[in-house]
Symmetry: C2
Subunit: 126 residues, 2 copies
Protein backbone atom coordinates (compact mmCIF):
# COMPACT_ATOMS: atom_id res chain seq x y z
CA UNK A 1 0.00 0.00 0.00
CA UNK A 2 1.30 3.45 -0.83
CA UNK A 3 2.31 5.72 2.02
CA UNK A 4 -0.16 8.42 3.00
CA UNK A 5 0.73 11.85 1.67
CA UNK A 6 2.40 14.34 4.02
CA UNK A 7 -0.82 16.38 3.90
CA UNK A 8 -2.97 13.44 4.98
CA UNK A 9 -0.53 12.61 7.76
CA UNK A 10 -0.40 16.16 9.13
CA UNK A 11 -4.18 16.49 8.99
CA UNK A 12 -4.54 13.32 11.08
CA UNK A 13 -1.84 14.50 13.45
CA UNK A 14 -3.61 17.83 13.94
CA UNK A 15 -6.95 16.09 14.50
CA UNK A 16 -5.36 14.02 17.26
CA UNK A 17 -4.75 17.18 19.30
CA UNK A 18 -8.50 17.90 19.26
CA UNK A 19 -9.74 14.35 19.82
CA UNK A 20 -10.95 13.80 23.39
CA UNK A 21 -11.59 10.07 22.97
CA UNK A 22 -8.39 8.23 23.80
CA UNK A 23 -9.04 5.25 21.52
CA UNK A 24 -9.79 7.51 18.57
CA UNK A 25 -6.80 9.71 19.33
CA UNK A 26 -4.56 6.67 19.52
CA UNK A 27 -5.93 5.46 16.21
CA UNK A 28 -5.09 8.77 14.55
CA UNK A 29 -1.58 8.67 15.96
CA UNK A 30 -1.16 5.00 15.00
CA UNK A 31 -1.53 6.21 11.44
CA UNK A 32 0.29 9.54 11.69
CA UNK A 33 2.96 9.16 14.36
CA UNK A 34 5.93 6.82 14.55
CA UNK A 35 6.09 4.56 17.61
CA UNK A 36 9.36 6.26 18.66
CA UNK A 37 8.55 9.72 17.30
CA UNK A 38 9.68 12.75 19.32
CA UNK A 39 7.51 15.83 19.87
CA UNK A 40 9.15 19.00 21.18
CA UNK A 41 7.80 22.49 21.75
CA UNK A 42 9.11 25.27 24.00
CA UNK A 43 7.27 23.72 26.97
CA UNK A 44 7.45 19.98 26.25
CA UNK A 45 9.74 17.21 25.02
CA UNK A 46 7.89 13.91 24.57
CA UNK A 47 9.35 10.68 23.16
CA UNK A 48 7.15 7.90 21.80
CA UNK A 49 3.61 7.55 20.55
CA UNK A 50 2.18 6.41 23.89
CA UNK A 51 3.73 9.41 25.61
CA UNK A 52 2.23 11.75 23.01
CA UNK A 53 -1.23 10.20 23.44
CA UNK A 54 -0.93 11.04 27.15
CA UNK A 55 0.66 14.46 26.59
CA UNK A 56 -2.34 15.54 24.52
CA UNK A 57 -4.69 14.60 27.37
CA UNK A 58 -2.69 16.92 29.58
CA UNK A 59 -3.01 19.70 27.02
CA UNK A 60 -6.78 19.18 26.77
CA UNK A 61 -7.12 19.22 30.56
CA UNK A 62 -5.02 22.38 30.96
CA UNK A 63 -6.89 24.22 28.20
CA UNK A 64 -10.47 22.92 28.19
CA UNK A 65 -12.46 23.95 25.16
CA UNK A 66 -9.32 24.95 23.27
CA UNK A 67 -8.76 23.68 19.73
CA UNK A 68 -5.75 23.64 17.45
CA UNK A 69 -6.23 24.27 13.76
CA UNK A 70 -3.93 24.58 10.79
CA UNK A 71 -3.24 28.19 9.81
CA UNK A 72 -1.40 27.47 6.54
CA UNK A 73 -1.14 24.85 3.90
CA UNK A 74 1.29 22.01 4.47
CA UNK A 75 4.60 22.37 2.67
CA UNK A 76 6.90 19.39 2.22
CA UNK A 77 10.06 18.22 0.49
CA UNK A 78 12.49 15.34 1.17
CA UNK A 79 10.17 13.92 3.88
CA UNK A 80 10.30 17.21 5.77
CA UNK A 81 7.24 19.36 6.45
CA UNK A 82 6.34 22.81 7.72
CA UNK A 83 3.01 24.36 8.58
CA UNK A 84 1.58 27.16 10.70
CA UNK A 85 -1.13 26.61 13.29
CA UNK A 86 -3.23 28.50 15.79
CA UNK A 87 -4.81 27.67 19.10
CA UNK A 88 -8.41 28.80 19.49
CA UNK A 89 -9.85 29.34 22.95
CA UNK A 90 -13.39 28.44 24.04
CA UNK A 91 -14.58 31.95 23.09
CA UNK A 92 -13.26 31.58 19.52
CA UNK A 93 -10.33 33.96 19.96
CA UNK A 94 -6.83 32.97 18.87
CA UNK A 95 -4.76 32.37 22.02
CA UNK A 96 -1.46 31.19 20.51
CA UNK A 97 -0.05 31.13 16.99
CA UNK A 98 2.91 29.06 16.00
CA UNK A 99 4.65 26.92 13.45
CA UNK A 100 5.75 23.31 13.35
CA UNK A 101 8.58 21.69 11.51
CA UNK A 102 8.56 17.92 11.10
CA UNK A 103 10.22 14.91 9.55
CA UNK A 104 8.48 11.85 8.16
CA UNK A 105 9.87 8.35 8.26
CA UNK A 106 10.11 6.00 5.30
CA UNK A 107 6.61 4.71 6.10
CA UNK A 108 5.14 8.22 5.93
CA UNK A 109 4.59 8.60 9.68
CA UNK A 110 5.94 11.55 11.64
CA UNK A 111 9.18 10.80 13.46
CA UNK A 112 9.78 14.34 14.64
CA UNK A 113 7.87 17.52 15.28
CA UNK A 114 9.48 20.67 16.64
CA UNK A 115 7.04 23.45 17.37
CA UNK A 116 7.74 27.12 17.93
CA UNK A 117 5.37 29.69 19.43
CA UNK A 118 4.71 33.06 17.84
CA UNK A 119 6.32 34.64 14.77
CA UNK A 120 10.04 34.66 14.07
CA UNK A 121 11.82 36.95 16.52
CA UNK A 122 12.81 40.35 15.22
CA UNK A 123 16.23 40.73 13.68
CA UNK A 124 18.66 42.18 16.19
CA UNK A 125 19.97 45.54 15.06
CA UNK A 126 23.68 46.26 15.29
Amino acid sequence: MANPTPVATIEKYARAWNEPDEALRRGLLDDAWSERGRYTDPAADVVGRDALVRHIVGFQQRFPGTRIELASGIDSHHHAVRFAWRMIGPDGAVTVEGMDFGELGADGRLERIVGFFGPFPALAKD
Copy 2:
Protein backbone atom coordinates in the same frame (compact mmCIF):
# COMPACT_ATOMS: atom_id res chain seq x y z
CA MET B 1 34.82 24.79 27.46
CA ALA B 2 31.19 25.75 27.26
CA ASN B 3 29.34 25.12 24.03
CA PRO B 4 28.81 28.09 21.75
CA THR B 5 25.33 29.55 21.96
CA PRO B 6 22.81 28.66 19.25
CA VAL B 7 23.02 32.28 18.07
CA ALA B 8 26.80 32.15 17.69
CA THR B 9 26.57 28.84 15.85
CA ILE B 10 23.91 30.04 13.40
CA GLU B 11 25.80 33.26 12.74
CA LYS B 12 28.91 31.26 11.83
CA TYR B 13 26.85 28.89 9.72
CA ALA B 14 25.30 31.79 7.80
CA ARG B 15 28.72 33.39 7.29
CA ALA B 16 29.96 30.15 5.73
CA TRP B 17 27.46 30.56 2.89
CA ASN B 18 29.03 33.91 2.01
CA GLU B 19 32.68 32.91 2.48
CA PRO B 20 34.46 32.39 -0.86
CA ASP B 21 37.73 31.19 0.68
CA GLU B 22 37.49 27.44 1.14
CA ALA B 23 39.81 27.23 4.13
CA LEU B 24 37.92 29.97 5.94
CA ARG B 25 34.58 28.43 5.03
CA ARG B 26 35.73 25.06 6.30
CA GLY B 27 36.92 26.69 9.50
CA LEU B 28 33.49 28.24 10.06
CA LEU B 29 31.79 24.91 9.45
CA ASP B 30 34.29 23.06 11.65
CA ASP B 31 32.90 25.19 14.46
CA ALA B 32 29.25 25.33 13.42
CA TRP B 33 28.48 22.09 11.57
CA SER B 34 28.66 18.49 12.73
CA GLU B 35 30.91 16.19 10.71
CA ARG B 36 27.86 14.09 9.77
CA GLY B 37 25.33 16.92 9.67
CA ARG B 38 22.64 16.85 6.99
CA TYR B 39 21.55 19.92 5.03
CA THR B 40 18.33 19.76 3.03
CA ASP B 41 16.42 22.39 1.07
CA PRO B 42 13.87 21.95 -1.72
CA ALA B 43 16.71 21.64 -4.26
CA ALA B 44 19.45 19.87 -2.29
CA ASP B 45 20.11 17.08 0.22
CA VAL B 46 23.70 17.06 1.44
CA VAL B 47 25.18 14.77 4.11
CA GLY B 48 28.41 15.57 5.90
CA ARG B 49 30.52 18.65 6.52
CA ASP B 50 32.84 18.08 3.58
CA ALA B 51 29.87 17.76 1.24
CA LEU B 52 28.41 21.01 2.58
CA VAL B 53 31.71 22.85 2.08
CA ARG B 54 31.56 21.77 -1.58
CA HIS B 55 27.82 22.40 -1.94
CA ILE B 56 28.30 26.03 -0.94
CA VAL B 57 30.93 26.46 -3.67
CA GLY B 58 28.34 25.29 -6.14
CA PHE B 59 25.84 27.79 -4.78
CA GLN B 60 28.38 30.62 -5.05
CA GLN B 61 29.22 29.61 -8.63
CA ARG B 62 25.57 29.40 -9.70
CA PHE B 63 24.70 32.74 -8.11
CA PRO B 64 27.80 34.95 -8.33
CA GLY B 65 27.58 38.08 -6.24
CA THR B 66 24.63 36.72 -4.27
CA ARG B 67 24.67 36.84 -0.48
CA ILE B 68 22.55 35.20 2.19
CA GLU B 69 21.66 37.16 5.30
CA LEU B 70 19.54 36.51 8.34
CA ALA B 71 16.09 38.09 8.14
CA SER B 72 15.01 37.38 11.72
CA GLY B 73 16.47 36.78 15.09
CA ILE B 74 17.43 33.21 16.00
CA ASP B 75 14.90 31.37 18.14
CA SER B 76 15.87 28.21 19.97
CA HIS B 77 14.66 25.70 22.54
CA HIS B 78 15.67 22.10 23.34
CA HIS B 79 18.64 22.30 20.91
CA ALA B 80 16.27 23.20 18.06
CA VAL B 81 16.46 26.49 16.14
CA ARG B 82 14.47 28.50 13.63
CA PHE B 83 15.30 31.62 11.71
CA ALA B 84 14.29 33.44 8.54
CA TRP B 85 16.77 34.42 5.83
CA ARG B 86 16.91 36.20 2.51
CA MET B 87 19.09 35.90 -0.55
CA ILE B 88 20.34 39.22 -1.94
CA GLY B 89 21.37 39.46 -5.58
CA PRO B 90 24.32 41.46 -6.90
CA ASP B 91 22.03 44.47 -7.43
CA GLY B 92 20.93 44.46 -3.80
CA ALA B 93 17.43 43.16 -4.48
CA VAL B 94 15.99 40.24 -2.50
CA THR B 95 15.84 37.23 -4.82
CA VAL B 96 14.61 34.53 -2.44
CA GLU B 97 13.22 34.58 1.08
CA GLY B 98 12.97 31.50 3.23
CA MET B 99 13.21 29.93 6.64
CA ASP B 100 15.43 27.29 8.18
CA PHE B 101 14.77 24.86 10.99
CA GLY B 102 17.69 23.13 12.61
CA GLU B 103 18.85 20.84 15.35
CA LEU B 104 22.03 21.17 17.37
CA GLY B 105 24.05 18.28 18.73
CA ALA B 106 25.24 17.92 22.29
CA ASP B 107 28.43 19.79 21.36
CA GLY B 108 26.45 22.77 20.05
CA ARG B 109 27.15 22.12 16.36
CA LEU B 110 24.37 21.85 13.81
CA GLU B 111 23.41 18.28 12.96
CA ARG B 112 20.46 19.17 10.80
CA ILE B 113 19.16 22.06 8.77
CA VAL B 114 15.99 21.88 6.71
CA GLY B 115 15.30 24.96 4.65
CA PHE B 116 12.08 26.05 2.99
CA PHE B 117 11.66 28.69 0.30
CA GLY B 118 9.07 31.42 0.50
CA PRO B 119 6.35 31.98 3.08
CA PHE B 120 4.06 29.28 4.41
CA PRO B 121 1.64 28.15 1.70
CA ALA B 122 -1.87 29.52 1.91
CA LEU B 123 -4.42 27.52 3.83
CA ALA B 124 -6.53 25.47 1.46
CA LYS B 125 -10.17 26.49 1.61
CA ASP B 126 -12.88 23.84 1.83
